[in-house]
Symmetry: C2
Subunit: 253 residues, 2 copies
């Protein structure tokens, strides 16, 4: 039986790995409606009911859990159905592009909060407590309440920032990790006997992102306007070191 | 009072950070004599007595705990004093060069075991158990006994290999970690707010080696004949990715 307390409806547009993760963690607290343009998954989603896009978009809270390059399209699709005062959030790995898209394509009467949960299904395996989420309040007044909910109810470490500051930092943190992961993948087979603790940690670090879906790699590289400069600096520094160390090895005399 | 059991004398030539670490861990099991060409340290070394090089070199076991590029010189210095049947070991981060130097400069009557403890004072802070050491038996029959001692008495994970196989693996494991550490040091300040778990691990990994003494960096880069190829491949892969991703970012449409 449904509790007598009013349970808010929460709409999830895009039911990929992250949409499912949201449903798992918020299913007990919200009445979750989900839409995916690929149709309902064959297995019944945990804690969510599938519905048409129009119905999902009428929820008081709507989370756009689509890839970064599909956010503008999702905004245009939900816009006619959104209720005045609704809160719309995204969960993209970069923030300047999605923020621009949401501000451009969502109606003036809705509140907008751009977010970047700095974790995925793998890092959230042991629960959400202590994981980070970046919030970029774009329009409306509810960001502090959302931040308080994420802190108290989910135990997340909430970072309030701007899309530009976020993307500058993420170009280095996420961009670097994905770049090093791709480079190391190209150097396989990597050793597993003569290894140090630091190398084992390095492999663990890149192992966490190397099976990320290609949309994530796209977003943190091409989707981040600061990622290109980071990559150029990375390549220059590596080349500089290689030149400095020279082609010849100096074996023990 | 000295125990009635015979306690073997163990000589350490070179009393830097690693020589001290050996003395700390073996001081209870051996009568340790140490020599450093810089003279005795001002503070009394834990578990070791300082002596002249000639006396240290007469121990039945002599560990050359000097930088890789000083091993040949150390071999020549101890050679006249070594006892027939003595066991000489090094602890260098690469193995082909030191192996060549020891085989060339040590008398035929001594046994030689090249080693690479895959840890340093920092990773050994919480004890040695589970840490790795590579052994390359070069001359004599005592390697299996040493391996058994390192496993049973110190809890080390012993990897028996050859100098070439060691250096090929280490070029990737140690070489890569140090290379990534140097590149990341050149990109500072690195973000500390918008970070993922994988980026935090990456920083932890490079943090473990970035304060290593320059001799270690020299050894794992210039001292490893396979490190140059590894670096070139690393740079090529990073350049290839940068070219592939292009100079322009594709922000969300």
């Amino acid at each position: 039986m449904r509790s007598h307390r009013t349970v808010s409806r929460l709409g999830i547009v895009g039911f990929g790995a992250f949409g499912r993760l949201i449903a798992e963690h918020l299913g007990g607290r919200f009445d979750i409606l989900a839409f995916d343009r690929a149709g309902p998954p064959s297995a019944a989603p945990a804690g969510a009911r599938f519905a048409g896009l129009a119905e999902v978009a009428t929820c008081p809270i709507v989370i756009l859990a689509v890839p970064v390059d599909a956010i503008a399209e999702a905004c245009r699709a939900v816009a006619p159905h959104l209720q005045p005062g609704a809160l719309v959030l995204d969960v993209g790995s970069v923030k300047l592009g999605p923020a621009r898209a949401m501000l451009a394509h969502l109606p003036d009467a809705v509140e907008i909060l751009a977010t970047h949960p700095l974790f995925g299904p793998q890092s959230a395996r042991d629960g959400l407590a202590g994981l980070k989420i970046a919030l970029c309040p774009l329009r409306g007044t509810r960001a502090p309440r959302v931040a308080a909910f994420l802190r108290r109810a989910l135990g997340l470490d909430v970072i309030v920032t701007t899309p530009e500051a976020h993307d500058r930092e993420a170009a280095l943190s996420q961009g670097l990790t994905h770049l090093v992961a791709k480079v190391l993948a190209g150097m396989e087979p990597l050793p597993n006997r003569v290894t140090t603790r630091s190398f084992d940690l390095l492999r663990e670090a890149v192992g966490m992102v190397r099976h990320d879906p290609p949309e994530i790699f796209e977003a943190v590289t091409r989707g981040n306007p600061f990622a290109g400069d980071m990559r150029r600096l990375f390549v220059e520094l590596a080349q500089g070191l290689d030149r400095e160390l020279g082609p010849e090895s100096v074996a023990a005399r």
